[in-house]
Symmetry: C2
Subunit: 171 residues, 2 copies
Amino acid sequence: MLRISKLTDYGTLILTHMAGHPGRVHSAAGLAEALGLGLPTVSKVLKTLGRHELVSSQRGAHGGYALARPPNRITVADVIDALEEQAFGLTECSSSSGVCAIESDCRIRENWMRINTVVRQALQAVNIADMVHPGHGAAFPAPHPTEHRMHGPARSAAACLPGARTDEQEI
Amino acid sequence: MLRISKLTDYGTLILTHMAGHPGRVHSAAGLAEALGLGLPTVSKVLKTLGRHELVSSQRGAHGGYALARPPNRITVADVIDALEEQAFGLTECSSSSGVCAIESDCRIRENWMRINTVVRQALQAVNIADMVHPGHGAAFPAPHPTEHRMHGPARSAAACLPGARTDEQEI
DNA sequence: AATTAAAAGTACCAAAACGGTACTGTATAG
DNA sequence: CTATACAGTACCGTTTTGGTACTTTTAATT
């Protein structure tokens, strides 16, 4: 569906919150409270982020989580890599055994690979520190400042669709 | 999961095949045969592509499908727009009512929107004609020519993951 | 006019992924 | 020793996705 999972969304939200309050540890419960998310969910996300060394954890009383590196060294691509279940890639190549490319011999594949690279670079260009200071976005390749129609108030971590098409819209 | 659906994958495959054999109409059955896909699946994809005016259809005997425009005017983003179920966007903003951004007030949203834009531009930069001639990729912003590890032979339309990470890999 | 080829539409079902929760274990501070 | 907080595992309900079947409509050929 070309969409990040909710857990990834939560991950960026949590990391951004932590980056906005540096120098202290955050309990999973505190983060859940502050962000309006369920505690088990937040725990799960933090655990995974810890496994990927994006946050460090301290167990026991007065324990909690802290960023494992400066926020400007944690990119959105890092968060996706940690929290998305499948590895990064717009298409799947493994699994399923049927041969397809009888004729075209899947020359398309290498094009997809290049597209993947471009998309990934876009995701690597943004880090958590950027997320804390929204107006400061210097790392964005091509802002394309038009069309900002978004519906509904702040809700998840989420972005509304930038050019949410009706049908046939060509941008 | 940050991945296009199989139907979208099939869509690019079908369109690319048609672009490689211009000037004639293609029956759904013929395409299914040539590409090793199920006929009902191919029909479904073509129907949707027709609804979005990427292909034109001719009913009746000796009917079939043809590209509705020159292949260099059909972008990958167009195909995604036609075949993905949800509208384009890396995160969802609508649906679900729980408030979250108690503290951070979802400043992250506008960053996601910019990321969306960049990703979309990458997808718009590639068209079906590019897919037919793979070595010809001039429209790709930043090739990033390293790491081409792919596993398994040609299978779907699919791309193998470009930098398929094990864990903790930072590109 | 009848027949046949081929797309269009609708509906449905099975499998997989996602999101969320519960339960149990382990470490640390006081 | 107890309370707090992270760690790991396992599970379940919901949603999405992929694929199939069946019926209808259109057009060409005989």
